[in-house]
């Protein structure tokens, strides 16, 4: 029983981090219908950024996630303006291919700058834990998940309660109508893409503390993200949160009760299972009813 509770807690902590990592991806898909395969490369980039600054200065890597957030916002903005928007205008589907090219180029550049060795940020608490009775809660996972959940709530409020969020949804639904109420659609799209990228800032920081990574890690992470959003229903933020919890718990159960090796297959097994059983995703119907939205 204790082992099960322990497993669920660890799974949900990881799930919280997966949810943040997937939120930007699902937002961009929901609004622009772009499968942004560079999303995980941005997470790895943010991980390198936090690891690198931590290595140089010793500043807490999770706190650096707060700095990485605006940095990745800026990166997302530039990426949107220079590549995504142009390609998207020319051809919808091509944007996915372009984003894959960006991912490969980014991992190449990261290899040149930071090398191809495995990296991990190891702050003082990276292998310490909180013990509640016989349950062990690792500090790193706890802080990372706490930060991720706080940012997700912030994103939810931003999309639900602010004019930026309303404008994003308006553009997703009907560009002409959005223009007619005075929204600058192009600028709003760039903002939306940049917000999606900004979520990789803390996501990357969490990754740098909890996992080892190297430039090509983004291939593994895009697999996990695709699993999360396909599980939850593409474009739905609530769906991403649910899908992330399922994947986190699924992986942890597999790792603890079966074998760590098998845990890496969980995302793919889940993708196949959901595509067979419920292709629209767990919250897929809701996604259709409210379009792109939270």
């Amino acid at each position: 029983m204790t082992l099960l509770v322990q497993t669920l807690i660890l799974g949900l902590l990881i799930g919280g981090i997966y949810a943040l990592m997937s939120s930007g991806f699902t937002l961009v898909f929901g609004v622009m219908k772009i499968i942004n395969l560079a999303h995980a490369a941005m997470i790895v980039l943010a991980a390198f950024f936090t690891w690198w600054v931590w290595d140089l200065t010793g500043i807490d890597p999770l706190l650096l996630g707060v700095v990485a957030t605006p940095v990745m916002y800026g990166f997302g903005w530039v990426l949107y303006k220079t590549v995504i928007a142009r390609v998207h205008r020319a051809d919808h589907e091509l944007a996915m291919v372009a984003s894959f090219a960006v991912a490969i180029a980014a991992s190449g550049v990261m290899s040149l700058v930071w090398g191809t060795e495995l990296r991990a940020a190891t702050p003082s608490y990276f292998n310490t834990s909180l013990e509640i009775g016989s349950i062990v809660v690792p500090h790193a996972q706890l802080y990372a998940c706490g930060g991720a959940v706080a940012l997700l709530l912030g994103l939810y409020v931003l999309l639900r309660r602010t004019f930026i969020g309303r404008a994003i949804k308006a553009c997703a639904e009907n560009r002409d109508s959005a223009e007619l109420v005075g929204i600058n659609v192009e600028r709003t799209m760039a903002q939306m893409f940049a917000i999606g990228a900004a979520t990789t800032g803390f996501g990357g920081a969490a990754l740098s503390v909890i996992y080892q990574f190297f430039p090509e890690s983004h291939f593994v992470w895009i697999g996990r993200i695709l699993c999360v959003v396909i599980l939850g229903g593409l474009g739905s933020l609530a769906g991403a949160a649910l899908g992330a919890a399922v994947l986190g718990v699924g992986e942890t159960i597999t790792a603890i009760y079966i074998d760590t090796q098998w845990a890496t297959t969980v995302p793919y097994i889940l993708i196949i299972a959901i595509l067979v059983l419920r292709p629209q995703g767990l919250l897929g119907e809701r996604m259709r009813a409210d379009g792109a939205h939270a």
Partner: protein, 249 residues
Amino acid sequence: MIEFRNVCAGYGGGDVLQGLDLRVEDKSITCIVGPNGAGKSTVLRTLSGLLSPRVGEILLDGRALHTLSAAQVLAAGVAQVPQQGGLFGGLSIRDNMLLGGYLVRRQRRELNKRIDELAEVFPIVAERALDKAADLSGGQRRIVEFARALVTEPSVILLDEPTLGLDPKTCATVFETTQQVNALGTTVLMVEQNVRFGLQLADHGVVMERGQVLISQPADVLLGRSDMASMFFGAAPTEPAVDVPGGPA
């Protein structure tokens, strides 16, 4: 006054508007009629800034509108209710109204006050505030679209087929609402497939064909013309006229 001077505009595959000249008097209700594809919606789109004219000028009281973005045209006082599906279905009525005031979003207090005022005229705005726009009926949506277009207190309102898909009773509501808005001093430029409905409502009628203005006349004169029937009712089938309050029988 709104003035189109020799406007040519299109969507890339040749001009839809072909040297269009048009005048819309202040505080009038002007109704454009014409067969499908004549370019009626395109007139409204070029005016509201969704489409830039290739040639020609569009002036509002002498000020050039054709070089402005849609947001700038709205700020200049011209608001458009688009043809069909103009509300954001996944958003609440309240959020739709707030977006109507997107340009004045920083004056939140005034914006809320303005929405409250409009809710008195259009009660549905308050009654269904938290419902998703997609959950309203077609007629209810039309009313909210009207209300949303009025948030910025425009001096000109553009309506593209306001009665499309509505039952006769709701058409009558649209008729009254348009008169109401006009009585408040707003110029109305509308496009209407239902020729009799549109011309009964309007002061001035404009007939368009192939991207040009064919006839521009007081609406009652146009309505009384004997060649109207052959011009329209033969060429493009229209919905049966509805009994509208205040209109000639």
